[in-house]
């Protein structure tokens, strides 16, 4: 114990860590009525950490070459000890991350946490979601299976519908007219380097905003009062709140443990949910498998494209929805955050969720 104390004293003298930890953990107070939905951010970070670690391990044996990519993934699955575990955790973890991110965003939406003064927090968070989808799309091609090849062909092909610049854009994205070695090369570079770099910057910006402005008070309970706007920066304080550590950290650890258990549970007992048989057949550019479909989180978008008679309108509608959500804090500018006092917003929220789920199910069975 004495040695531990000496080491901590040595570091503390130079970096003042005791003070830093005290101010950010035990003395950092959160609203007393904070709920479990607030811990989804921490769960997302934990799940992303798993993605980064398993991703680095997969990089050791993966070969980004159309001739060897599929065989290298098969070797990881069948020959390298615990390779199947690392690969499944990465592939299944990606799905769980998207699910948790969606829940995190939905809870922020429902509690109107995006409103002034937290517009930038929402903006960076929404961009994190878009980059995550980008990482999912680029990672999907890497195993070079029939599923990867054709899902990427179909997904990138929608770019053709953009007027004037669609075709040249598609050429740049694919590195040619069809999905091939150059597509694999650029998707690999984006997946392991480009997008994670942007992701890291966005997460830093998002967390900085969260910590700088302070956690938003849940808009529930008789004591809640809407935020009074002022012209100066103000960190939201909760003098009667609960400490971040250990009180809220314990709740966050429980939520993280739940999602890690979900990921490992699917990995061990039902990996087929996210890996259909086409994921185990090498890519064949001359044979398109039947009923090729994107991952579940792209199914709503896929169905919208199918519903509209013109592909361009399908893309336009999605572009409008994305832009609307991205700039929502600047569109919805009232100060009221209590869902009970915002019936139109709640109706639109429910409609949006039902629409997304409905289109996803429709896309799955169509």
């Amino acid at each position: 114990m004495a040695i531990n104390k000496k080491i901590i004293d040595y570091i503390d003298l130079r970096l003042g860590i005791r003070d830093l930890l005290q101010k950010n953990l035990t003395e950092y107070l959160l609203p007393r009525n904070i709920n479990i939905w607030y811990s989804l951010g921490a769960a997302t970070i934990a799940l992303f950490a798993v993605q980064f670690i398993t991703g680095i391990f997969l990089l050791i044996y993966y070969i980004p070459n159309t001739e060897q990519a599929f065989a290298s993934v098969q070797a990881i699955m069948n020959e390298i000890p615990y390779g199947w575990l690392i690969r499944y955790l990465h592939a299944i973890g990606a799905n769980v991350v998207v699910l948790v991110l969606l829940l995190h965003m939905l809870s922020a939406l429902f509690m109107s946490a995006y409103k002034r003064p937290r517009e930038f927090t929402w903006l960076f968070g929404f961009l994190i979601f878009m980059v995550t989808l980008g990482m999912c799309l680029t990672g999907y091609l890497l195993p070079w299976s029939q599923l990867s090849y054709w899902a990427t062909t179909v997904a990138t092909d929608t770019m053709n519908a953009v007027p004037l610049i669609g075709e040249p854009l598609l050429q740049v994205l694919r590195g040619g007219s069809a999905v091939g070695q150059y597509t694999l090369g650029r998707f690999f570079a984006l997946h392991v380097m480009g997008l994670p770099l942007i992701f890291g910057l966005l997460v830093s910006a998002h967390l900085f905003c969260v910590r700088r402005i302070g956690v938003s008070r849940p808009p529930f309970g008789p004591d809640y009062r809407p935020w009074e706007p002022n012209d100066e920066f103000q960190h939201e304080e909760y003098p009667d709140g609960i400490p971040f550590f250990p009180n809220y950290t314990a709740e966050e650890v429980a939520v993280i443990a739940f999602f890690l258990a979900l990921t490992t549970g699917i990995t061990y007992f039902a990996p087929w949910i996210f890996l259909p048989s086409d994921a185990f057949t090498p890519a064949d550019p001359f044979v398109t498998p039947e009923h090729i479909k994107p991952e579940w989180y792209f199914l709503a978008s896929y169905q919208i494209l199918k519903v509209f008679p013109n592909e361009f309108f399908g893309i336009l509608v999605q572009g409008v929805i994305i832009t609307f959500l991205l700039f929502l804090p600047w569109i919805d500018r009232t100060h009221e955050r209590r869902p009970a006092k915002r019936p139109i917003f709640v109706a639109l929220f429910v409609l949006g969720v039902v629409g997304f789920v409905g289109l996803t199910i429709w896309g799955h069975f169509s």
Binding site: I80, P81, Y82, I86
Partner: protein, 147 residues
Amino acid sequence: MDADVMEEKQLKRRRAVIVSLLGGIGSVLTAGILWPLWRFLNPPGTTGEEATVSIPREQVGVGQAHFFQYQGHAAVVVQNAPGEFTALSAVCTHLSCIVQWQPDKKDFLCPCHAGRFTATGKVISGPPPRPLPSYPVTVSEDVIVVG
């Protein structure tokens, strides 16, 4: 006062139990995570390899050397005199560079720090601390078997 001391003692004991429990569970979980990662980094085929290697006899002429992979390392077989074969590790015992066969001098030279070995692996000069390890060789009519 005594009650306070008792309470303090009890609190310390409780804290010690919780810390030990969390430490124990944490250690088991950490081991459970590290073990697959350790095994992942040690795939089969990089340490074991076959116990013997067969080389066609015509590949090793008299006074010549033939390099090959043996048990994951570079090895060399030399025909010193007609029908007399020696198999050695080709990894220099100094800092693990691969030794080169000098056909004119009939010895091995390490290009890194000029260590020299005889055709049977003994140190002639330079920094190598030990001779090159040798391997058993059996020769049939047209195949040399090392190992």
